[in-house]
């Protein structure tokens, strides 16, 4: 059976859900939506054209019952780097973008918000790993959807009011 024509058959796109990640070695556009307190982390190796994106929910696997590594910043980021290395990336040459971590809700006894803890953990880890943070769009009180286009080496961010910006 031959392939069907679709609206756009030149560049494929891949959607990443919460606590999921994807690694691609072509120009597939990586997309994730509904980043509220969650964090979207994009890594890209321009030398070997390996792109990775992960949508993490929480800062740390500590004290959590569930151990899906893609759910947490502290286990998800190393997992993404490992998978990208396996796909041919040079871990020391990765460029990073982080988006999300907003404070959508304000509860009485919540302590520091999940969003700000996610941002702090990701920034700390990128720093420890000595990776270049190209840009970030974090915090605030609004949701974001993002897509990473390897061909443009840019992350575009869409918010609920339909405004978009690229970083």
């Amino acid at each position: 059976m031959k392939r069907l024509e679709t609206d756009d058959n030149t560049v494929s796109r891949q959607k990443i859900g919460i606590a999921e990640y994807a690694v691609v070695t072509d120009e597939t556009i990586l997309i994730t939506s509904g980043l509220g307190s969650c964090l979207g982390i994009v890594l890209y190796d321009p030398q070997n054209t390996v792109s990775g994106m992960i949508h993490v929910m929480l800062p740390s696997v500590d004290q959590a019952r569930d151990t899906n590594p893609a759910k947490f910043v502290d286990t998800g980021l190393p997992l993404l780097i490992d998978e990208m290395e396996a796909a041919g990336a040079d871990p020391s040459g990765l460029r990073a973008w982080i988006v999300g971590g907003s404070e959508m809700l304000n509860f009485e006894f919540g302590g520091e918000s999940i969003g700000s803890r996610n941002i702090a953990m990701a920034s700390q880890m990128l720093d420890d790993l000595d990776l270049t943070l190209v840009d970030s769009d974090v915090g605030g009180g609004h949701g974001r959807s993002i897509q990473f286009d390897p061909a443009a080496e840019a992350v575009s961010i869409r918010t609920a009011d339909e405004s978009t910006r690229a970083i």
């Binding site: 392939r3 069907l4 679709t6 980043l35 918000s113 949701g143």
Partner: protein
């Protein structure tokens, strides 16, 4: 008969993996990129089946399962979508209508095969599939008769995986309805697990339905508009599927944290037009606001407060516990992002959630409101298990 939450999670995971395999086979066969939106499982009654399927015309491919897992699997398309798929298959193969119909059947066969793959491994026993059957029906009749009969008697477990094409307008669902008694046995797990007696799960669903009725009544009282509970279901879903289920459209609403037994979250969402309509009806002379401003915010918060009290009112009585809620957190953003901190908070302790999902229609089809209640899974299990046995 009791079900173990962890076993229910296992089976949901199998269904979710199966749906991904089914989506891959469709992508390979047709070149259409498919995405699995969400997989949920619920114990549904005849009424819920009717609410879920009524008024729609379906084309389906049905296969029976025998052996390690008995029951029925149905790949169901809304009629228009099925015609679209037939067109796509026609284009791809250049064949006749008849062949396109048989290729839909064959496609169903391959996809359901992919869906079931992996279940046999988990169960350690072979699962045989009966030959695929092409069916067309209106409403719940798209499901096998045995399943509808079971839903009348004691309820039936309904697995639903929604698949959506990424670049074209094509979506459909894979349903699996395992044979009730065998499946309850498979779900029984161990005494140490978090077990919930099956009949209390349906009792809780009735409670939720009553709560939705109360909340609808409150909207009616505050706005003077007609309201009606369109649908109310208790689903068991992977937490991370919740934001996807709500979707990326922009909503106006309120989020409450529940404290007590069970603790959890309650989210009330209106689409923007419905929010404006409802807020305007609450103010003498209308709100006169262009967009969603402070007046609408105030009205939605006030309404949300009253609806939430109405919604959870019955819980504490029936469960014999005390449940309170925080003041409303106003939200106006994409639905999936609103849900993100809620699933984040629950996600520390659990990977799946019981979601009570109710839709209220306002003023006919003019407006709608969705209520999502996400109780802490273990606390809900504890509270339900502690109930005295019903006779």
């Amino acid at each position: 008969m009791k079900v173990d939450i962890r076993e229910l999670g296992q089976f949901n995971h199998l269904a979710s993996q199966g749906a991904k395999r089914a989506a891959r086979s469709l992508s390979q066969l047709t070149g259409v990129q498919m995405d699995v939106e969400v997989t949920d499982v619920s114990l549904v009654t005849e009424n819920v089946l009717a609410e879920t399927f009524t008024g729609q015309s379906f084309v389906g491919v049905e296969l029976g399962l025998q052996g390690g897992l008995e029951g029925e699997t149905v790949l169901a398309f809304e009629r228009e979508r099925a015609l679209k798929l037939q067109d796509l298959l026609l284009q791809a193969t250049g064949s006749s209508d008849e062949l396109a119909q048989s290729s839909v059947t064959e496609l169903g066969n391959i996809m359901i095969g992919g869906f079931i793959d992996g279940w046999a491994n988990h169960l350690g026993e072979a699962i045989n599939m009966t030959p695929p059957k092409y069916t067309e029906a209106v409403g719940p009749r798209i499901l096998p008769d045995q399943a509808i009969e079971a839903a009348k008697n004691h309820g039936v477990f309904l697995f639903e995986s929604k698949l959506k094409a990424m670049d074209i307008d094509l979506d459909f669902s894979i349903y699996m309805l395992p044979e009730y008694r065998q499946f309850v046995d498979l779900l029984s797990g161990t005494e140490q697990g978090n077990q919930i007696p099956v009949n209390r799960l349906s009792a809780f669903e009735d409670l939720a339905k009553e709560g939705a009725g109360n909340a609808a009544g409150q909207i009616g009282m505050m706005t003077g508009l007609d309201t009606d509970v369109d649908i109310s279901r208790l689903r068991f879903v992977p937490l991370r599927g919740v934001p996807r289920q709500v979707g990326d459209d922009r909503f106006v609403g309120v989020v409450f944290e529940l404290k007590g037994l069970p603790s959890g979250y309650l989210v009330v969402l209106f689409d923007e037009a419905s929010a404006k309509r409802v807020a305007s009806s609450m103010m003498p002379g209308g709100s006169g606001e262009d967009g969603i401003g402070t007046m609408t915010e105030g009205a939605i918060k006030e309404l949300g407060n009253i609806m939430t009290s109405g919604f959870i009112d019955g819980w504490a009585n029936v469960l014999g516990t005390s449940i309170e809620h925080t003041p409303p957190n106003f939200v106006h953003d994409m639905g999936s992002a609103i849900m993100s901190p809620v699933v984040g908070k629950l996600g520390k302790q659990q990977d799946y959630a019981f979601v009570i999902d109710s839709t209220i229609e306002i003023d006919g089809h003019q407006g709608r409101c969705d209520i999502y209640a996400l109780p802490n899974e273990r606390e809900l299990a504890r509270a339900l298990s502690a109930l005295p046995a019903r006779t």
